[in-house]
Amino acid sequence: MPLTESDVTWVQEPKLGLLGQLYLPAIADGLMTTVGHMFKKKVTELYPEQEPKLPPNYRGVHRLNRDSEGRTKCVACYMCATACPAHCIDIVAAPAPEGWKDREKYPETFVIDELRCIYCGMCEEACPVDAIELTTLYDLTGLSREQMIFDKEKLLSVFDVTTKAGTDPVRTRSGELGPASEPPPAK
């Protein structure tokens, strides 16, 4: 579909008259614009004092969800580690301990390198049992690289913190348990 003349608007160069050739009117015009802005609402955010308003679907630090018995929901299926474009998730699977009747495997270790992570959210997209989620915690700091490598306990503690604060993620509709977390049907 070639463009016709009616589809085009030709931009004209601004014509500077004799007044425009002088610098003074432009300076006055510019000053009026900037002075006008002085009386408008301030746009600066005073960050550490004022917390930013983040949407509830913000993609921040990960958490590992607990089931109703306080155990990790993760079944060590490696789906998040496979989906991760940054390869920052490291899982070691082990047979589930005695008494865990609803699954055969559980993660012996579950490590996320928060420095490698790009917070794309593909791990929670890949998780089939609602075990890993990104929370709205954004102010993640550490004094060493080791502090930024989160292990299972730390990720579970993020769950405790966010549940207590009432900032559960909304993207994966947390709270709905996956099939693997439900008890097996009675025979």
Binding site: T9, E13, Y58, M79, C120, R171, G178
Partner: protein, 408 residues
């Protein structure tokens, strides 16, 4: 045939004693990113300029051969980081062309809105930074304040401000809410005021016009011969816009709501004016798209076996669970035809294309990018030769070269 190494030290006429060589960049405030120019100067006049690229080479295209079609979206984000969403949309447009799928109307409209927001965001930065390099800080601050609102809109939709990774094959990461639509309405109402502020500060500014008019002139023939696209070609009088020429997404349906901004000047001032006009047209597109935003699903149906199913479908239905595993197991994922496709979008800087070669697996065999910055940096020596050193910031600012996209 072995390539001959480019000898950057010997310049034309280096035997003439009055010429000298100046190294401009890679760390120079006016280049904004890592661009390097080797200039041969006669006094302050540039006799010859040789651009040296590769300082920000990050192997993005090679990563495209290692990551699958959905994962690679996190990398294309980082190419033109001024308007990341536009890159994502162009990438997934190419993938969908390869797979031969048609996305839903709602997805088309949302992607159109996001692409136009990205264009405004890119132009605001380009115009602001161009003015900043020429000594006008205020327009830059006003433009950046408005970009902040665009970031908020993208954050509201995807959950992240800078690298949203929002698109997926056959749809989006998640649907948008009514609050998002409200945010866009607020933005389209407030944007004309900011646009007017920038116009007042720059359009009739004698200093700005003196620094940009007649600098870096490009004729229509040269623009076509050097394969310029986007605002750079349009400011030289080339009437070409992929949004009208080869309508994609919802641009065909919204064709009546916007016009293509062109100019006959071809200099830095014309490029600035075309970008300013394009922003006005983009707001018109966004307004029309928001008013006509169709309801319905944003992703393809689960039966098409291309989309990551909704979490509820994964947890509650066996089809959803199977589909979910099919898309994430490393030995399954997408089934693609063995084919080569080229998909191009009109992004803020020009034609951003992806040339995708598939060998039938879920990963691209080759994911070549046609970045507008690469082509436009190649014409830079032509634009600058004969001008003064102080014109370099004006020309660079008007070309809006993003090194991450240039070097990939």
């Amino acid at each position: 045939m072995p390539l001959e190494a480019l000898d950057l030290s010997t310049e034309a006429g280096a035997d003439q004693e009055f010429l000298y060589t100046l190294n401009f960049g890679p760390q120079h405030p006016a280049t904004h990113t890592t661009l390097r120019l080797i200039l041969t100067l006669d006094g302050e006049t540039i006799v010859k300029a040789v651009p040296d690229i590769g300082y920000l080479h990050s192997g993005f295209e090679k990563l495209g051969e290692d990551l699958d079609f959905n994962q690679y979206v996190t990398i294309v984000d980082r190419m033109n980081y001024i308007s990341p969403v536009a890159n994502e949309i162009a990438w997934h447009h190419t993938v969908e062309k390869l797979l031969g799928i048609e996305i839903t109307p709602r997805c088309k409209y949302i992607r159109t809105i996001l692409a136009e927001l990205a264009r405004i965001s890119d132009h605001l930065l380009c115009v602001g930074a161009a003015a900043l390099d020429l000594g006008g800080l205020t327009a830059f601050l006003y433009a950046f304040n408005e970009r902040e609102k665009i970031y908020n809109i993208i954050e509201q939709a995807s959950g992240q401000r800078f690298h949203p990774s929002f698109t997926r094959v056959g749809g989006l990461m998640n649907d948008v809410t009514d609050d998002w639509v409200k945010l866009i309405r607020v933005f389209t109402n407030s944007f004309p005021k900011v646009h007017a502020d920038v116009v007042r500060l720059l359009n009739r500014n004698k200093i700005f016009i003196d620094r940009t008019k007649g600098i870096g002139t490009l004729t229509k023939e040269e623009a076509i011969n050097m394969s310029c696209t986007g605002p750079i070609a349009r400011s030289a009088g080339v009437v070409r816009d992929l949004r009208k020429d080869e309508p994609y997404l919802a641009y065909g349906e919204l064709a009546g709501s916007f016009k293509v901004a062109c100019s006959k000047g071809g200099d830095c001032l014309a490029r600035y004016l075309v970008r300013m006009e394009e922003m006005v047209q983009s707001v018109n597109i966004i307004k029309a798209a928001v008013e006509n935003l169709p309801s319905g699903p944003v992703n393809l149906h689960t039966e098409d076996k291309l989309n990551i199913p909704d979490k509820a479908a994964t947890y509650r239905s066996i089809e959803g669970l199977i589909q979910h595993f099919e898309l994430f197991m490393w030995n399954r994922r997408f089934e693609t035809p063995v084919n080569e496709v080229y998909g191009a979008h009109e992004t803020a800087n020009g034609e951003l294309g992806f040339y995708l070669v598939s060998d039938g697996s879920a990963k691209a065999w080759r994911a070549r990018t046609r970045p507008p910055s690469f082509i436009h940096f190649a014409i830079f020596p032509h634009l600058i030769e004969g001008h003064q050193i102080s014109d370099i910031p004006a020309v660079l600012g008007s070309l809006n070269i993003i090194a991450a996209e240039l070097d990939r």
